[in-house]
Amino acid sequence: MNARQGFIGQSTERREDGRFLTGKGQYTDDISLQGQTYAWFLRSPYAHARITKLDTAAAAKADGVLGIFTGEDFKAVGGLPCGWLINSLDGSPMKEPKHPVLADGKVRYVGDRVAMVVAETLEQAKAAGALIEVDYEELTAVVDTAKAYNAAATGEPVHVEAPDNRCYIWGIGDKDGTDAAFKTAAHVTTLSFRNNRLIPNAMEPRCANASYDSNADSYTLYVSNQNPHVERLLMCAFVLGIPEHKMRVVAPDVGGGFGSKIYLYGEETAMVYASKTIRRPIKWTCDRSEAFLSDAHGRDHVSTAKLALDKDGRFLALRADTTANIGAYLSTFASCVPTILHATLLAGQYKTPKIYCEVTAVFTNTAPVDAYRGAGRPEATYLVERIVETAAHELGIDPAEIRRRNFITEFPYASPVGLTYDIGDYDATMRRAIELADVAGFPARRAASEAKGLKRGLGYSAYIEACGIAPSSVAGALGARAGLFEAGEVRVHPTGKVTIFTGSHSHGQGHETTFAQVVADKLGVPMDDISIEHGDTGKVLFGMGTYGSRSLAVGGTAIVKAVDKIIAKGKKIAAHLMEAADSDVIYEGGEFKVAGTDKKVPFASVALTAYVPHNFPHDKLEPGLNENAFYDPSNFTYPAGSYICEVEIDPATGKTRIERMTACDDFGNIVNPMIVDGQVHGGLAQGIGQAMMEHGVYDTETGQLLTGSYMDYAMPRADDLPSFTVETAKGTPCTHNPLGVKGCGEAGAIGSPPAVINAICHALGIKDMPMPATPFAVWTAARSASTAAR
């Protein structure tokens, strides 16, 4: 371990901001290529229908049209793959019907891709699209999550491969032990939940620009994506059969992802395929209306849960049953979200000895559902933290106290649902959150609200998440079809300047700053001497990308390991230059030194010697100073924290104001506190959005998306939210990565929804409030609560 240089832990201003603030960012739609053409997709107006006629002849003759592609063109290629195999309780593999690039004779959700028109201009492509003749035989739409597997009621299944619309029925934990524990319980709390469907809404809509170079027989795809190497691997190896070395995927500046840009989508796949026929670059930029219909959505779980407690409020067992809507097709990681990323988190921060969870995933005639910020962990946290708080109120125990009685306090802790938490201090974040939220002052504030005829409530949430996904061996045993390591490369130039290549991808997280801080700290060179490259398979050796709050914990560690190799080699070069033994050389402050002497040689001189190796230990080393590393973690990381929400409700209108939103998180070590706080802020906004505003709603009869624009889908705006009180605890550094970091990207979205709903329930004295707690829902609940009180 080399001495720290003070870059880690500083709120360094972001290096990427200059270009974003001056309009110089390069998002995919900003890139136009020589000979650019434009694609437009004809989408299904029906949720479930057979295509009985598809005639493109008239459209093909329209002005400017260069090509029209339909499902027929893709019959010979693969479907879009799902990256995680889940086996049902009976041992059978999940039903995995083909996810075609373009519809294969049937459409399965409103917005399903029917045809792609490529033309000289977007206007011409759209005009030609209107000339495509399609006849549909409409079928009954399967929409409702809870009723989807009642095939008799829903008519023709979404896929013939899944006659009852069930993709899998999966379970985890000790069923018999859980049942037995319930028989000994002094108290059982029961709740049903709907974890509302969310539509991710990264502000930059999806976009792609695909081209084919006939001289090199190779493809280039610019795409708004979170993991370009995974995109390339999936598209090449599983769908189109393009050799990987003939394909370059570039994800330039990306305007937010939140999960929705992890996946391989049919649009860019069709465009890459077509680019070889058209022989000119093809660009497509999603309209927002199209994005609502066709981006992978998030959440959409229906669950019931039971918590068994002893007379002192100690948890004995938890039983959860979840039906997860995965939409019309299996998106890239859809299958693992309600299982591996949800049920394994049901222990939360508590030493509940017995847990059993069953998950049924159902196909419906709705957009595919996949990971969205938090991905399974918000659903688990909502279930646990709602039922714990409800149990506390039922037993008359303070909600903080019931949690304290059940906190895991000894680590490592092997949970009954498959995870081993390496470290944490849940009481510390809870205590600090209680101070920050001034819980002591709550009774007085409540009295003041009541004097005005208003209701005031306080809600807690103590979340845990599993981040830094994860050891490949464990993931593989659980069904992952990909590795989950990360790759990094450190290229030291002859002048001692450094370029870092990382397989992580930044789409708002600020890697160009934080990764440079880490490297500057380790190498003791100025940040200005370090640049960070990411998002281009033509530059970066490999990568698994950014999701699951993994960038720093996994990608950052890969870089650290490569830096360690640079220093190790540098020591040998320096030893040669200083005529010292390798083992006597230390590295600190950007200089190689012979321990105990005043002999030293700066980093840049060693770099120069590596590339101008006139005086060089050729017998022991190769010239050059360039190292890469692949890092596969030995465990997940386990960020955790306590959130407290305080609301004031006007029962006459249902208007709910968040008066205080307090978050105290333990992310282990922190590289850039300003960026970490910003990540929590954003997560809180999305979590509060889920709790109070956002809801993706389909018409249950027709399967039409009713919330298909910003006028129907309530995106949180500045005046919907308060300022937040956010603090990162001194924390318990992760024990198994050298930076001691855990990940912070999703915490806010995971921890906040139950805190908000707990606060609303507390204010109104009610047991449950379905999300989103809109003014109408709150008003209705307040009315029935006051009627019941009378």
Binding site: F20, T22, P205, G255, R288
Partner: protein, 161 residues
Amino acid sequence: MSIRLTLQVNGKSVARDCEPQTLLVDFIREDLRLTGTHVGCDTAQCGACTVHLNGRAVKSCSMLAVQAQGAQLTTIEGLAAADGTLHPMQAAFKACHGLQCGFCTPGMVMSAVDLVQQHGCDFSPAGETQVREALEGNICRCTGYHNIVKAVQQGAAAMKN
């Protein structure tokens, strides 16, 4: 039938032929290749396309290019000084970490500058609610607005100095 459009863009005279149905935002992005102005929705809700037309903030997705005939148009590319010094509002967004992915940022900054120049908001911490209400026309998905509000307050103070 195209129309000859003459206007001042970021202080320079520009003349282009333009179709009558072309939206101002498409003219800015495609014809002028000023790609800092973004399109985040198709219902005039998100504000990513906000520019200044004759000194007032407008959503450029909601106007035809020909309506800018003879106008003074300022986009995000024209906000910083000629020597590259950031406008005080841009500097405040950087200092306060008021941006993450950067996609809504140009529109957010253009709206914020207009807010300071045109509206009598209370930009002190006590006026937070006013600032939040005034930013209602710009959607950000990354920041939770916490640091945007701080940036607007700090940028407003800097603009008045």
